[in-house]
Symmetry: C2
């Protein structure tokens, strides 16, 4: 994602690292790729070997000359990119983001400068959908509670209470991009009733479409946020939406922490006015509110949606292939189009 949580401005603190890469120096050439945030060691090694990479590190001093030749800026969902950062690259042509969703704000900044933008959609959708399904079932069937029940030796003293079920469940999806569709396919196989809310109806989808999110939340027993961050989705899972899901309902978020009113969600979970939640994303990652950690009607994950070796390898390859295409003058493999700015 080219995602920029508003609560985390980084313009002043994210500056160029002390030195470029050894590979770039050895060649005596300026690096052609700049790296904002972290990528895995293999991705770095491949890019550095081919093009030279200059890392931008938090707290270091900017070096205008090192950025002068950078045509590509690699970023990721948690790092994103700001207007100030973009201003520092005179030769920039491409912002290549590792991840699927795209923040519409950051995308707008790139569009205004005529920059191309790529992401790595699709390759992680199936893994995110698997985790979302696992979290949804874990919340409804209280798998983590049961796991602790056994591990704490409580079973011999009596049965764990009966749990909810997916029988008769009505699932409302917020966002129906690649991840949402992959999850919906799985849920249909579980026999639930599917419907969705998006910025527009999808002509190739048979699930019921709800133009009004609150109406969908009232109808649904389970609400799943599967949409990107950014202004278009900020806070759309409001107190009113969460209340509409209700005391027997479940909220699942694998989209972006910014889509939900987190304080309201916590209050409703604490008072039983929202039944349960399964959360892979949070407003201020990696900081999770302590109040959430204390609840037993939540399942919490440290943003593991695409955190599998397979998905990360495929994402890395897609990122590298896009950069290679740019330098070879070929068409980009997965450019972000304005419409696809989201899975929303």
């Amino acid at each position: 994602m080219i995602a920029l949580p508003r609560s985390m401005p980084r313009t002043a603190s994210h500056v160029l690292g002390a030195g470029g890469s050894r590979q770039g120096e050895r060649r005596g050439m300026l690096a052609r790729v700049a790296l904002l945030g972290e990528v895995d060691a293999r991705t770095f090694a491949v890019l550095d070997d081919r093009y030279g990479v200059v890392r931008m590190r938090s707290g270091a001093v900017a070096n205008k000359r090192a950025l002068a030749a950078c045509e590509v800026l690699v970023t990721n969902g948690l790092q994103g990119v700001t207007a100030d950062e973009l201003d520092r690259f005179p030769a920039l042509k491409l912002v290549a983001s590792l991840g699927s969703g795209v923040d519409t704000d950051a995308l707008g900044e790139c569009r205004a400068r005529g920059l191309q933008v790529t992401n790595t959609p699709g390759v992680l959708a199936e893994d995110v959908a698997d985790l979302a399904l696992g979290l949804l079932i874990a919340a409804v069937r209280r798998i983590c509670v049961g796991h602790d029940f056994v591990r704490n030796g409580r079973w011999p003293a009596g049965r764990m209470p009966l749990t909810g079920s997916l029988r008769g469940a009505r699932v409302g999806m917020i966002g129906l991009g690649k991840t949402g569709r992959a999850l919906a396919r799985r849920l249909v196989a579980c026999g639930v009733e599917m419907s969705y809310h998006c910025y527009r109806t999808k002509s190739d989808i048979d699930y019921r479409f709800w133009p009004d999110l609150i109406e969908m939340a009232k109808y649904s027993t389970i609400l799943v946020a599967c949409c990107p961050g950014g202004d278009a989705t900020r806070g759309i899972v409001s107190r009113e939406v969460l209340s509409a899901i209700g005391p027997r309902g479940t909220f699942v978020n694998v989209g972006h922490g910014s889509v939900v009113d987190e304080p309201a969600m916590i209050e409703l979970l604490e008072t039983g006015r929202l039944g349960a939640a399964a959360l892979d994303v949070f407003a201020d990652e990696p900081n999770v509110p302590e109040a959430l950690m204390a609840l037993d009607n939540v399942v919490l994950q440290p943003h593991q949606g695409s955190a599998t070796a397979d998905a990360r390898h495929a994402m890395s390859n897609q990122l590298i292939d896009n950069i290679e295409a740019l330098f070879a003058g070929r068409a980009l493999l997965s450019p972000v189009d304005d419409d696809g700015a989201g899975d929303y």
Copy 2:
């Protein structure tokens, strides 16, 4: 299930409770239904109101007269029924079991006496399949580990390691009855490759059939036991089978604790020769080996497969409907046929 773990003989200790039901006494009639083990309050109330129920409780003294008129014996998977118990019912016509699987040993005893046997198949298959899917994903994607990672405040100090994925997974099912089929349908939607091992190939199934379980285990990355207990399946998930799944493989058991060599499984999990396990059933429920509780590559559940309010209500209705059919002289709704003695 009419399941009788061999390790838990109960013939001497399970005898008739002190008194019959008040309803039966009020009528001045002998109870027509005997109850072995526990059922939920609603089921008891309905049966007692219609036919009078005599409870058989552990540690109480037998009362021949109270059992004389019982035509139905209600039992469940954990209680089962023994030959000695059956001998005490001169008027018995039906053993009605709350649950899906049927232990072939107990079934044989009933057959030898000309007793009819019913179970409650189907109504719980979908709920068990949901939980099995949730446990499988939880094991592969380490959901309970991630949950603890967040709750223990470890996320700000660094990322949780990458996990396994279902991409490219090959799932081998042991048993393909109603539950197995419901789970397979879900797994196909997750994009995995399905195959199965049963006592015979199923003509209406396209998944690859393996007559040899060890060969299937070698081929599979995930092995799921979805079969009943009893002699036919005792210990079939042997040390050799578990070793064949391997260090990167996962074993899931939602069938019966007796199907797996539990000590071998624990040893292989402890030493990393079996990657992970997700277990809803155990050899000596509700007692779970402490060694299992200490492992972080397992997901443990207190036999929650059908422990949803919906499934239990449906099971209860099916049990009551069978008993009503018997007393009304109608055909039983879900008699156990010899072939269907298992989902295996």
